[in-house]
Every structure is written in structure tokens, then in C-alpha cells.
Symmetry: C2
Subunit: 252 residues, 2 copies
């Protein structure tokens, strides 16, 4: 077997640490395809995926009610590194609570989902305006988005608009649960109500900080920009890989 082709082809492989959950992993892969200017199969960026869903529940671990998912995430990440991944991404918001520990254990470059979403949010409205956030209880309570530093170059910190506890209970959490149960049509109405409430309180854009929400929320029903955090990450993963391939091409 000739290995010359192998060396060439393995530039810029994106490793997707998936399985949290398996459907969100597939959705992310689809968003990477959508973000790629491709005329044929060969134009698409190379990815390796570890969708090994036997990872302890992230939300339960955050609540202190279950074991840590870190060991299983490290094992999954090592699989991707052995398979040739040069960059890792995780299409799951809650998993990012273990991002720093994971990156330290693996020693591989990783792109952070929240950084990708914040960059797109700030570019969409400017940092001096209010940005709404829809996410799970765990993502909000952990401060995953709220404590993340504003992207370099932004003039001001982001002014967040969050759902109230009542809006979470009535609209956001039932909407997410309906998507998880495969009842998408039921989820659109309550999630749209949650967006409109944020807009009434001054949000100029809304970040969808949960992989389930964009699956149900029809952008056609709202008049402000929606930033799908998963899509933001997918676009950056594609851009990184295409950049690596150009770099390899120019030095070959």
C-alpha cells in the first residue's frame, strides 16, 4: 500500500467528540457539510467522529447527582487523536463544563462552542446591545455563556438577557423536552414565545445555546437574528480544516 496519498489526505482532520447525544452529533456533521463550499465528495473536509454515547449524564454530574463524564470524554478524545484528528470539537453545550480539564488531559487544540457563538453574536448586533440566551437550566446555572470572556476586539461586554424562571418552566424546558422526545411540532410554539419575551425586554439577537433548540425553532416566525451555537462551531471547524489544507498545499 502506497502511503504518500495517506500523508497528503490526513491534513486538517477535524475530530468530533460526539455521542452527547448521537442525534446532535449527526446534526453537527450536517451543519459542517452545509458550511462547506463543495462541488463533489472530495471537496468536503475530512472528519473523524467518536460517537460513543456511554458517557455519564452531564447534567446529573453538574447537579452533583452522578459520576463525572470526564474519564469517558478523555477516552473518546484519545480515540480521535489515534485516528488522526488534529483539532477537536464537541457539539454539546453542557460537555463544555469539562472543556479545560479535557484539553489539558488530551493536549490537542480544541475549538470552544461558546467562543464561536459569542463571536457570531457580537458580529451580528455589536457588543453594546443586548443579546438573549436560550439554553438548558444547567447551561444557564453553570454560567457557561455568562462567565465566558467577550471575544477579543469587542468594544464592550455582552449584555445578556435571560429567560425568567417562569419562562423557563413554561416554555424553554418543555420545548427542549419535546425535541428530545422527537415531538418537534410541539416544540416550536413555546420556544418562539421564549424568543419573543427576550425581544420585548430588548434583545437584539438570541443565542440558541442548546443543540435541541434550533431543530424546532423556525427562524421565519421571529424578526431578530438567531445565532445557532452549533452552526457557529461547525463553520469554524470547516474554516480551520480548509486553512490547514491550504497551508499544506502551499508548503508541499
Amino acid at each position: 500500500v502506497n502511503t504518500t496519498a495517506t500523508t497528503h489526505e490526513s491534513k486538517g482532520i477535524v475530530g468530533i467528540l460526539g455521542g452527547m447525544g448521537p442525534l446532535a452529533t449527526i446534526d453537527f456533521m450536517r451543519k459542517m457539510l452545509d458550511a462547506t463550499p463543495a462541488r463533489n465528495d472530495q471537496d468536503h473536509v475530512p472528519v473523524v467522529v467518536s460517537s460513543v454515547p456511554q458517557i455519564p449524564d452531564r447534567t446529573a454530574a453538574f447537579r452533583g447527582e452522578g459520576e463525572s463524564p470526564l474519564d469517558a470524554m478523555v477516552a473518546s478524545g484519545r480515540r480521535l487523536v489515534r485516528a488522526g484528528a488534529a483539532l477537536l470539537v464537541m457539539p454539546c453545550n453542557t460537555a463544555h463544563l469539562w472543556f479545560d480539564e479535557l484539553q489539558q488531559a488530551l493536549g490537542v487544540p480544541m475549538l470552544h462552542l461558546v467562543d464561536a457563538a459569542l463571536e457570531d453574536a457580537v458580529a451580528s448586533v455589536g457588543a453594546e446591545r443586548r443579546i438573549g440566551l436560550l439554553a438548558t437550566d444547567a447551561t444557564l446555572a453553570s454560567g457557561l455563556y455568562l462567565n465566558r470572556r467577550t471575544p477579543a476586539g469587542a468594544a464592550h461586554d455582552i449584555h445578556w438577557q435571560l429567560p425568567t424562571a417562569d419562562e423557563m418552566t413554561r416554555w424553554v424546558l418543555p420545548g427542549i423536552a419535546a425535541v428530545k422526545a422527537g415531538r418537534l411540532p410541539e416544540a416550536g410554539e413555546p420556544l418562539t414565545q421564549a424568543v419573543l419575551a427576550l425581544q420585548r425586554r430588548g434583545a437584539a439577537a438570541v443565542v440558541l445555546g442548546c443543540t435541541e433548540i434550533p431543530l424546532a425553532l423556525d427562524a421565519a416566525h421571529v424578526s431578530l437574528p438567531l445565532i445557532d451555537a452549533t452552526a457557529s462551531l461547525a463553520r469554524r471547524a470547516v474554516a480551520w480544516s480548509l486553512g490547514q489544507q491550504r497551508l499544506a498545499g502551499s508548503t508541499a
Copy 2:
């Protein structure tokens, strides 16, 4: 990092040699999810995927007009083995023209897409009846399905019904091309015509031997069983993994 969990979780990992093309890979992953009785993320079977689409064109190679894809397929398969895959599957019909060489080079168990489809076809109508086949020109001309041995236990060989050259040119190839170009609504009508022609000549079921065809063909418009070869392979991959996990559970 504790490695006990890793040892346990890595039982029955299915390796998907994908990227041929990237969208068919995602479709196959979705069919594996659909074939799994799961109440939560953790119930889904573990998979690793190599979707590295920088593989020379399989149809061009079959026609003798391009380089062999074998080296790139072997490299992709080795990635999956390094990532922990204990079984390999390929959600691409044409790639199976290199199945035997690939299996020999990798030395890993593999499930054959055509065997999976033939088993389902025979189970659906019985081997003494006629079975239609819709596939690309290369799949038909190579005899990939036609020369494959009937599943063990079938009373008779399969009696194939193929599209005529005229039906291929008018319906099958334009239908497949429309799906590849993302124009799904245009593809349904010609592919349905092709199915009806096979039915008029006595086909009791039709095997869809091309990953693109099931994406467009609405089963509601035809009255005979359609066997989606990709779905047949997905069900067997899931069954293999669940079997490995039961085995590991009973000896633990």
C-alpha cells in the same frame, strides 16, 4: 484517568468507513439510530466514523478512467481500527467492489452491504420470486449484486429483474443525479416510474442498491416492498454491537 470505564465502554464499537459521500455517511448513522431501541443517549451503540472524503472516485476507477481508491480506503480503515473499531461497515455500494481486498489488508471483520440487502430481500418475498434492483450503472455493470451468492438457507437463487437501458437513461440515472444535486422533489417521479416498470415485469420487491435512491423514493407511491440496502446494513451493524455488549455483560 481511570481506564476501567474505558475498557467496558469500548465493547462492540462499529467503525463506519464513510465519506463516500459525506451525506450518505450521515444518512447511515441516522438509520443506525432509527434501528436502535433506545430510551436515552447511553442506549445507543458506540460508533467511530472516518469521513475522509479525499478518496479517488470509485465509479471512475471502475471504468478504468481513474486511480484506485483502495489505498485511501485502507488508510481510512486503519484510522478506525486505531480508534477502537472491532467491526467495519461501508455505507456505499460502489466501494464494495474493493471489499475483499480491503478486508484482506485490514484483517478486521466487516459486514457486506449486499449480503445484508439480499437477506432482507429473500426474507421479504422468498427466493423463488423475482426481485427488482435499482442501482447505478457501475453497480449493475460490475455484477456487485448479481454475482453475490444467495444467503444461506434460501431455497433458490434470486431471480433478478433489472431496468432496461432505456429505463436507466430515462428514469434511474436522472433520478440519482437529481438527488446528488440536492433536487429531491424532481427525483421522486422518475424513480417511481422505474419501480413500476420492474413491478409490471413481475418483481415482488425492489432492492434500492444505491444510497441516493431511498432519499427520494416515497414508499407511499408503490405497493410492493422496497428494500433499502443501507438500512439493511445499519440494522445488522446495530444488532452486532448489541450482541457484543450482551456477551461482554454476561462474561463480566
